[in-house]
């Protein structure tokens, strides 16, 4: 019983702390693999089996959704994993005719995968350079956000999930870009000028307050120095 109580405490700690969540997931990796194996009927291969990443995500969802009155955590997580995998398979049925690149083919006497026989049109070196540059910029962006006391996980949690709210936040961004003094004010004071942006964009003040962390991240991306990230937001630039 004390083990179960300890696990519950760990789960409650992992709800708000991403590091604690990572630690808990690593601790229960055996359980997670076993759950994936139930569906695959074999041991999952990391980096190859999509199911394993789905099961990991489902375990994290179970951490976020768990309440004490729902019973034992592992039984709850097991149910969540099962449901998530069923959903995943249903969704993937649409692509049933798609052939996996990791499907083995007979090539002479040796077993090989299809992907090994395909030519990669991308330049691996160029892609590696681009990824390094992007990683560098993202790290810098992360550090800037840390100056505001915000992590990417916080931003993701604070990101509007309704289309209408997202459009409202994009209006705020458009207003800030038309008045760059507010972007400078954000960088200097490390405070979001909610009143000014609300009056300029016509978006309700409450919406700005509710999505403050997300707005800071997006406005910060449109200040100087984050070309790769801005380049990635081309759909957003079309909207603005």
């Amino acid at each position: 019983m004390s083990g179960g109580h300890e696990l519950t405490e760990q789960v409650y700690a992992a709800k708000t702390d991403p590091e604690a969540a990572d630690a808990l997931i690593r601790q229960y990796m055996g359980f997670i693999r076993a759950e994936a194996a139930k569906f695959l009927h074999r041991a999952p291969v990391e980096g190859q089996d999509e199911e394993l990443s789905i099961v990991l995500l489902a375990f994290y969802e179970a951490i976020l959704g768990y309440e004490k009155h729902r019973g034992a955590f592992l039984a709850y997580a097991s149910r969540g994993i099962r449901n998530r995998l069923i959903d995943h398979y249903r969704r993937e049925k649409k692509h049933a005719k798609v052939v996996s690149l990791h499907e083995p083919i007979q090539d002479g006497d040796e077993d090989a995968l299809k992907i090994d026989h395909l030519e990669d049109p991308t330049n691996a070196i160029e892609a590696s350079h681009r990824r390094s540059a992007a990683k560098e910029e993202i790290t810098e962006f992360e550090q800037c956000l840390e100056g505001f006391g915000i992590s990417f996980s916080d931003v993701a949690d604070n990101c509007p999930r309704q289309e209408r709210t997202l459009r409202a936040c994009q209006k705020v961004l458009a207003a800030a870009r038309n008045h760059p003094e507010h972007l400078d004010e954000l960088v200097q004071t490390k405070k979001l000028p909610i009143a000014a942006l609300s009056s300029l964009s016509g978006v309700d003040r409450k919406t700005l307050e509710r999505h403050r962390r997300y707005l800071i991240a997006v406005l910060l991306a449109f200040t100087n120095g984050f070309e790769i990230i801005r380049g990635h937001l081309y759909h957003l630039s079309e909207t603005l």
Binding site: S53, L56, L57, L64, A156, H232
Partner: protein
């Protein structure tokens, strides 16, 4: 989510990665071996527990709304029928005669005067939206005021409907209500179920009664002796009734015992009578007798 959306991997954790899509959404998604700075085309986003709750609440709201709409539709139709569709008629006979069309709820939908007095009674009367009891009471008041109903008068109520139970119950209720209402008047009025048997015609009618002509009484005729009819001077007597009788008497003793050919007109028209030998022949009638002897 637009087509050709790609995701920039911003942060990587054991169970998930934070991705940035082209529209500026930061999402947590399954980490399929991603590295920071990767651009991926497919993502399995995290489902937040609060979103699940909201979705469940939304489904519940939708289901409740749908159920409410169905209830409103079903009960709306029922209520419409209950309040606005004709369910029966109430005939009120004082005599003025009026007929009310009633809904099941007892709302008066239509009011007609059956006879001329009935039309006079309802003339200018507003029954819209009124209850059957109110209309019955008010029409009785009007009948009293207009002089149609007085002391010793009678009011007959007859409810007709496919639902006999409803009609019967309504008749009882109406009689009770009307009796209660009439207590305010110092009048003795009989309220009953049914119709009033009356000889008074509903409408003035004209009837034509034919009067037959009186027949004249014939006077009694005095009895008189029939006068012998004298034959005309030139009449030979043959062919007349009298001569026939005479001739028949003479021929009664003839051996033939019946009508002999001698009595025929052809005999009388013979040339024997033209030269005066007729008389001799008549007088000489004895030769027949001689034969008989």
């Amino acid at each position: 989510m637009k087509e050709n959306t790609t995701y920039l991997v911003m942060e990587v954790h054991t169970a998930y990665a934070v991705l940035l899509d082209n529209e500026g959404r930061f999402i947590k998604a399954a980490n399929a071996g991603y590295q920071i700075g990767d651009v991926v085309e497919k993502a399995f986003p995290l489902k937040y527990p609060e979103d699940r709750k909201k979705q469940a609440a939304r489904i519940m709201r939708f289901a409740a709304g749908l159920a409410a709409c169905i209830c409103v539709a079903v009960f709306g139709v029922y209520e419409y029928q209950y309040f606005f569709l004709p369910y029966g008629t109430l005939q009120m006979q004082i005599n003025p005669d009026v007929e009310m069309t009633l809904s099941r709820s007892g709302r008066v939908l239509d009011l007609d005067g059956i006879n001329e007095d009935g039309e006079t009674l309802i003339d200018g009367y507003k029954y819209d939206g009124k209850d059957k009891y109110t209309v019955t009471d008010e029409l009785t008041d009007r009948a009293i005021n207009l002089g149609f109903l007085g002391d010793g008068g009678q009011v007959a109520l007859l409810v007709s409907s496919q639902n006999a139970e409803w009609a019967e119950s309504l008749e009882k209720d109406l009689i009770d209500e009307l009796n209660e209402h009439l207590k305010q008047y110092d009048l003795t009025i009989n309220v009953s179920v049914g119709t009033i048997e009356t000889d008074v015609l509903d409408e003035p009618q004209s009837i034509t009664i034919p009067i037959p002509e009186p027949e004249p009484v014939p006077a009694p005729e005095p009895s008189a002796e029939p006068e012998p009819v004298q034959p005309a001077a030139n009449d030979s007597g043959y062919g007349d009734d009298a001569s026939d009788d005479l001739y028949d008497d003479d021929s009664a003793g003839s051996p033939s015992g019946g009508d002999s050919s001698y009595g025929d007109g052809s005999y009388g028209d013979s040339s024997y009578g033209d030269d005066g030998s007729d008389d001799d022949n008549d007088d000489d009638n004895g030769w027949d007798d001689d034969i008989d002897d």
